[in-house]
């Protein structure tokens, strides 16, 4: 059955791979699944046809036969649970890999997203100067904990999994700020993710849409 995802017609990041469709593309590439992409404009994202697929008016969405899903984490988990390549076979190891997916989206990403918003969209607001250090410290606290856990390992729990896919994607957002490089083992971890052939294909695919 054909898989169709949606992505920005023109990504606000100009093709740096930070739009969330990259995470889904990466998962599909790891699983070796072909997919089609329907590009949506900012206007179309807020219109009824797209809102019916995605209540928050965002990308990506995922369509496969009658199944329509939104929410990147849910899409990646759906792909991972139904195809080889993203989750270990052993039941306990599988549960732990899924735990890292949830940790990425609910424990690590919220302060990072908050930090990005404060830095990029609220920098000129009257409260920005007083608040930004608080937000940056919350990010550093989390990264310190994550860095301690990763230690010298290549991946968070044994071999590469959907948990690493999601965590590396979340951390990638921080690179431009310099905070990621304060934690060399995390920076190397993200680089290992980016070096995966599946990531490279996913990145190239989104770049082809957004370049120029």
């Amino acid at each position: 059955m054909t898989i169709t995802i949606t992505a920005f017609e023109k990504s606000p990041d100009g093709g740096k791979g930070l739009a969330r469709d990259t995470r889904v593309r990466w998962a599909l590439e790891e699983a070796g699944l072909p997919y089609q992409v329907r590009l949506v404009s900012f206007r179309a994202m807020k219109e009824p046809a797209h809102l019916a697929r995605h209540p928050f008016g965002q990308i990506p969405t995922y369509e496969e036969g009658n199944l329509v899903l939104f929410e990147t984490g849910a899409i990646v988990l759906h792909v991972a649970q139904h195809h080889a390549g993203l989750l270990p076979d052993d039941a306990d190891a599988r549960a732990r890999a899924i735990a890292w997916m949830f940790a990425a989206v609910n424990t690590v990403e919220p302060p990072i997203l908050d930090f990005m918003t404060a830095r990029l969209f609220e920098a000129d607001k009257p409260w920005a100067e007083a608040r930004l250090p608080l937000v940056a410290d919350r990010v550093r606290d989390r990264l310190k904990q994550l860095s301690a856990r990763l230690g010298r390992a290549d991946w968070l729990d044994g071999g590469f999994s959907a948990g690493d896919l999601m965590m590396a994607s979340v951390l990638l957002r921080l690179r431009a700020s310099g905070i990621l490089d304060e934690f060399p083992n995390l920076a190397a971890y993200v680089a290992r993710g980016e070096a995966r052939p599946a990531y490279k294909r996913a990145f190239a695919a989104q770049l082809a849409v957004n370049a120029g």
């Binding site: 809102l51 928050f56 929410e71 849910a74 919220p110 908050d114 609220e122 301690a148």
Partner: protein, 214 residues
């Protein structure tokens, strides 16, 4: 036997709102007995606990040789074992999981943005200036959830799932304000979820552990 971690003591305002409540609720829905391992304040930062929970949070879930952290993952794991939380039909199951992620990644962070201001930074000048924008943002998200709910009883139709458990738990963070309450449809939905006997048992159990420890 399943063991989950929880705190022996938290400030009054956090009682009934600590994250182990969500896991207790899931276990009650699934009909799985569990016991609690109560942490003293400070235990969460010790090396032996951090080895199990890298972020020093509660709860963790232990059973046999498996230790899991992260509330969403634990509820997902319990759901894999119980149709009370995740329906068997693959499409419905994927959609239930979708709502769990939506609660945790698209709604909760913005609810917490407002809640942190209200609960911890009330008197800060930046907080006063920032609050209206944070409220407007979360209201748009909640409005989208409400619209998606429509006339349905639960987010994906007539039956309660782990997605509803997580979304209503997130909505409950706003118990102290009218942000959810003023949307009658969303408020009724949250009430419907919280009226479930399994939720009541979970809440009583969390509050009971604090009482017993006092």
């Amino acid at each position: 036997m399943i063991t989950i971690s929880a705190f022996r003591w938290v400030p009054d305002l956090a009682r009934g709102h600590v994250r182990d409540l969500r896991v207790r609720w899931a276990l009650e829905e699934a009909g799985l007995p569990y016991r609690t391992r109560l942490l003293e304040q400070g235990d969460q930062d010790k090396d032996d606990y951090r080895a199990l929970q890298p972020f020093g949070q509660v709860p963790i879930f232990e059973e046999g040789g498996l230790t899991l952290f992260e509330t969403g993952a634990i509820v997902q794991h319990i759901g894999e074992r119980s149709e009370a939380l995740l329906p068997k039909e693959p499409g419905a199951r994927a959609r239930a999981i979708q709502w769990m992620f939506a609660a945790l990644n698209s709604v909760e962070p913005f609810v917490m943005n407002v809640a942190l201001i209200d609960l911890f930074y009330t008197n800060e000048e930046w907080a006063k200036l920032r609050r209206p924008g944070a409220v407007a943002f979360v209201e748009r998200r909640l409005g989208a959830v409400s619209k998606s709910l429509g006339e349905k009883l639960y987010l994906d139709g007539d039956r309660f799932t782990a997605g509803d458990l997580m979304m209503s738990s997130v909505l409950r963070i706003f118990h102290y304000t009218d942000i959810v309450k003023k949307d009658a449809r969303l408020a009724a939905y949250a009430e419907r979820c919280m009226a479930r006997p399994a939720f009541k048992r979970a809440l009583d159990a969390q509050l009971g552990d604090f009482r017993d420890a006092a």
